[in-house]
Amino acid sequence: MAMFDVSSLSGRVVVVVGHFGSGKTNVSVNLADMLGKINKTYLIDYDNVNPYFRAADAAGTFGSSDVTVVSGEFVNTNVDIPSVSPLVYSALCGADNGHSVIFDVGGDMTGAVSLGFLHDKLVALDPVVLYVFSAFRPLTDSPEAAYQILKEIEASSKLAVTALVNNSNIGAYTTAEDIESTAGYAERLCDLSGLPLLFTSYMTDRAPDVKGEILKINNRTKILF
């Protein structure tokens, strides 16, 4: 195991997709924080489904990291309709200037549909499309189930996933052993999809002993109470 070099994503458009509850938002917020220390980074809250926990919640928590959070104008209000901020397109134009852009795409295949209107612009920017998975989510409790959701998201987003991120966790109760126990699952998902594992993320004190690269992240999920 080696540490994943986040700077390899600097200046790129990174589209983070996956089954809801797999930790896409937390991975996105952490990546944004790390990339924002290298150069200007846009974190785009592209979740039109989750009413309570969103990347937009992290606005104002980045300190010296140069992260601009872009979110729909109705986020965290009672307006229960999907909307996309016009600033999303502006942020994408920033990618032409070498800025990093992270899309946190919530809501499974339904949430990924609205990426369609950005398709031509996105594809021209050669995005890194990361599929975040957790083996401890009931609807992705097998690699086969996770693979099916990956294919659904690809079909609705019209984007091809380029790499996988193993974010298997059971919140604050996760142990390094828990993560290690998902190694076989991750390998099988790589085989099924023909895609590489970019990194395994972890929040535990001890780094998990797994094949491939690992990335220490922090829990940046909003505390409700």
């Binding site: 809801f20 509850g21 989750n50 009413p51 309570y52 926990f53 009672n78 229960d80 957790s134 401890f136 989510r137 009931p138 609807l139 409790d141 966790n169 059971i170 919140g171 109760y173 409700l224 109470f225």
Partner: protein
């Protein structure tokens, strides 16, 4: 699936399926839509049915029909959708049918908002439908409990042939916690000789109806049901008593608010204030006797709720004016913090200690 990280909404759906619930009828509404989503994916795999009805009214009447045929069935919604279901719930009560209903509360009245709330307490415990009727109302306060109380709800519903309402809120529905499904205990489904599922010429026909042609028949039917409610009140009251027995100030709080209140109790104890938490797990039947008992030893009560003061009146009835009963709440989708509750405790104790 030993231990998983799961949303409260998903935990209810999984626990229902494991309880032998084969039929789910619902209509989407934030913040409980994950239940329908989960049911739609899982029900076909277990030979069950998940159907998105054309409205909440249709969904509850599908529950009515399915329950009459003797199967375990549930529906779920959030506050405005529950209001729509109320006519059907009354019919189900009138027919003495078991079913499970989940309310993942959001702010009201009217369309209100999509953030968490406990402002449907009155509706759940006093009047989710017309007529002399009561529901059995359970209030989970963790995701693990969302799962366990769902399993319990099917058992109670079948045992007493009455609808069980699980009163949750948006926070419990949306937040994720680890759940150990192998640790759940389930009540096996009993025989249902009353069900209308075809007599095949072998028995007398069963009739399920809430219509009684003679007033005396309706009255005796209601009196019979009242006996059942009495048994429920005697046998099924559930609560958590957290450090109440030596407490000067007893906080009464349910669901997500009880979590916040428990943290405040711990902080108060560190400051030398003897606080405790009485958490009703059944809101109906209400832990009246336990509160009355505590009114002998405690100096004051504080009801903490996400509404403008609803359960506080049940606390007052239980305490019977023996001690002062205070109220603290937030509403409209805002949560209080444990510091807010602690401030109330200190304010009350200022007049006592």
């Amino acid at each position: 699936m030993a231990k998983v990280l799961i949303k409260g909404n998903e935990a209810v759906a999984e626990a229902a399926i494991r309880s032998g619930c084969k039929y789910y009828f619902g209509y989407p509404i934030t913040p409980q839509t994950e239940i329908a989503e989960y049911m739609a994916k899982k029900m076909p795999k277990v030979g069950g049915l998940c159907l998105q009805a054309e409205s909440e009214v249709a969904a509850i009447n599908m529950v009515y029909g399915a329950s009459a045929s003797g199967v375990r069935v549930m529906t779920s919604s959030s506050s405005p959708g529950i209001s729509l279901k109320s006519e059907g719930v009354s019919y189900i009560v009138g027919c003495d049918l078991p079913c499970v209903i989940l309310n993942v509360q959001r702010g009201g009245p009217g369309l209100g908002g999509i953030q968490p709330s406990q402002s449907d307490y009155y509706q759940a415990t006093k009047a989710l439908g017309h007529g002399d009727m009561q529901l059995f109302v359970l209030a989970p306060s963790s995701v693990q409990e969302m799962a366990q109380l769902t399993a319990d709800a099917f058992g109670v519903a079948d045992k007493y042939r009455m609808p069980v309402l699980i009163l949750a809120d948006g926070a419990l529905g949306q937040m994720m916690e680890p759940v150990d499904f192998d640790a759940l205990h389930f009540t096996p489904e009993p025989e249902k000789p009353w069900a209308v599922n075809g007599h095949a010429g072998k028995r007398k026909k069963n009739i399920i109806t809430s219509l009684f042609l003679k007033p005396e028949e309706l009255e005796s039917n209601i009196l019979e049901r009242e006996k059942k409610y009495k048994t429920v009140r005697e046998n099924e009251v559930r609560f958590e008593n957290y450090m109440c027995d030596d407490a000067d100030i007893v906080i009464v709080s349910f669901g997500i608010t009880a979590r916040i209140s428990k943290a405040a109790v711990n902080e108060a104890r560190k400051k030398g204030i003897k606080a405790g938490l009485l958490r009703p797990i059944t809101l109906s039947p209400f832990p009246t006797d336990e509160l009355y008992r505590l009114s002998g030893s405690a100096s004051a009560f504080l009801s903490v709720e996400l509404n403008m003061g609803q359960m506080v009146n049940d606390v007052k009835l239980a305490v019977q004016c023996r001690k002062p009963v205070h109220f603290y709440g937030r509403t409209g989708g805002s949560l209080m913090s444990s510091e807010d509750v602690l401030e109330q405790i200190i304010k009350i104790s200022g007049g006592l200690l």
